[in-house]
Amino acid sequence: MATLNESRASEAATVAAPATATAGGESVHPPRRANHPRRSSRRRRRWLGLAYLAPALLIYACVVLLPAGQGVNLSFYHWDGITAATWAGVENYTDFFTDPTLRQAVGHTLFFIVFFSFLPVVLGMTSAALTARKDTRGAGVYRWIIFLPQVLTPAVVAVVWKQIYAPDGPLNSVLTAFGLGGLTRGWLGDFTWALPALGLAGTWGAFGLCMVLFAAGAQNIPNELYDAARMDGAGPLREFFTVTLPGLRGQLAVALTLTLLGAIRVFDIVWLTTKGGPGTSTITPTVVLYKRAFSNPDVGAACAIGVVLAVVALIVSLAVVKLSESDD
């Protein structure tokens, strides 16, 4: 939630939400309430509010809360989806250490974090720092293009990259043209190269979001800070570390949260290109989850993966937010 908060403060225009509006559960009530003497009418309004909320709450409880609870419960059982479930204790969780496929998948996640999170953030930050403060004519067009991968259908993105990496695809043509014909291969069918190939597709997909986010943030850094830095004789590098980077801390938190969550949840592009293969060389926890849940079902094991993903996701978001606020 602080994620939403941070970025909304930076992108003030759409709804111009006050930053305080989202600061945690205990809301800052507008003064209107305090000035209102009639307690009973206020109480009535709040009951009315519950009535307005009721339909959303009901659906939310059925579709999200109930399955979330069931997921935690099921994760302690062995269940094939049909016959009676048997108690498993924490076995489904210890799978993370003992099951070779799952261990491999976790390893791939760490690998993907580099490509889906660190690279896009670093590249996005660098590009934004290099370009954002200059008055670029046509900046809107560039932004449109660079942000485009965000709105493309993941299923389509998978088709796109499948063609780029195909044995007779453009990547191999380029390599051949540069006299590197020996390196050509079917990239997504290669045990060693399929994983980094998918990683690069992820970098391509996440980079634009980071850059546009940082560029928007950089617009809000007061020019005086740069002038002051220049007066002090700061070079571009020092300027970046003393002015730009601190000014973008909020955006950095948002970018890290979004891309890290993206990295630990990678599914669509893997499933639609390699299905985790060849062998298990591109398998991810979500692919394992899907396979455990639906082909030859071991539902409890699948739920345990889901629970762990949720816990990791919560920790990541909270940690990033805490880090970004720590020395305010």
Binding site: A13, V15, R46, Q150, P154, I305
Partner: protein, 270 residues
């Protein structure tokens, strides 16, 4: 002051980035109109009939119908619920808000993967798998939290003096919502509808799990099935991919600002 040299560098750099982002997309567009079924680029003999051919071979009419039904209904219901719950949290206040609001926020933070497996078995036992109702319900339910959060923030920016003047007029909460809050918050609602449309249209994971009957699957799954076929014609596959992207990319052409702003502030829907 910015020197000419800096300017040239700036443009060169941005153009390079844009080219890197666009290349795979342009390549696919090129393949989509090339005659070669192996997927080699041949723009000398553009074959526009690829699009109709792909449409027929992939059976996109049925998938399009499903996509329209699912996305249209889910977005409409989601928007209505977002407005109602945002109004409750942002303007009226809610009994038990201290508990209910964090409970709602939980839905933004929890990844879909954590709930989708039990959700499948629940839906199966209720006969909701392989139905439009089921996938629509799943989309609506998983989007409720974000909607409440988004519209709450929007309604809270409405100056309380305006809301009070409605009270003085004796307007009920319902007519205050319609006459005052909705018109003022229209930009936020438009952005919400656009984002919601995109997320629902682009969804693959949820539909993959809840809908295995091709007659009820959306276009994203249709594309997946088409690309998974043995001996697929690569140019037709590219053409189908282009066709499926048209609605969202088309909206993105006209509503760039809403998409970018909305996603930068709200891209955490799980």
């Amino acid at each position: 002051m910015i020197s000419t040299r800096e300017k040239v560098f700036n443009y060169a750099f941005l153009t390079l980035l844009a080219a890197a982002v666009l290349f795979p997309v342009i390549w696919t567009l090129g393949i989509a109109v090339s005659p070669e079924i192996t997927g080699s680029l041949d723009l000398g003999h553009m074959q526009w009939s690829n699009f109709t051919e792909a449409w027929q071979q992939a059976g996109l009419t049925q998938y399009l119908k499903s996509s329209l039904i699912i996305t249209g209904t889910a977005v409409a219901i989601s928007t209505a619920l977002a407005i109602l719950s945002g109004y409750a949290f942002g303007v009226l206040g809610v009994v038990g808000e201290k508990l209910l609001f964090p409970l709602m926020l939980f839905g933004i933070m929890i990844p879909l993967e954590a709930i989708v497996v039990p959700m499948y078995y629940d839906f199966q036992s209720q006969g909701l798998t392989d139905t439009y109702q089921g996938i629509i319900l799943a989309h609506v339910g998983t989007g409720v939290s974000f909607g409440a959060f988004w519209m709450r923030a929007a309604f809270r920016t409405v100056p309380s003096s305006i809301g009070e003047s409605a009270q003085v007029d004796g307007a009920g909460t319902w007519s205050a919502l319609w006459r005052i809050y909705l018109p003022i918050s229209r930009p936020a609602i438009v952005t919400f509808v656009l984002l919601n449309f995109m997320w629902t249209w682009n969804d693959y994971f949820l539909s993959l799990i809840l809908v295995s009957d091709p007659a009820h699957q959306p276009m994203t799954l249709g594309l997946g099935a088409f690309s998974g076929r043995y001996l697929v014609h690569v140019n037709l596959l590219a053409a189908a991919a282009v066709l499926i992207s048209v609605p969202v990319v088309g909206l993105y052409v006209f509503c760039q600002r809403q998409f970018i702003r909305g996603m930068l502030s709200g891209a955490v829907k799980g």
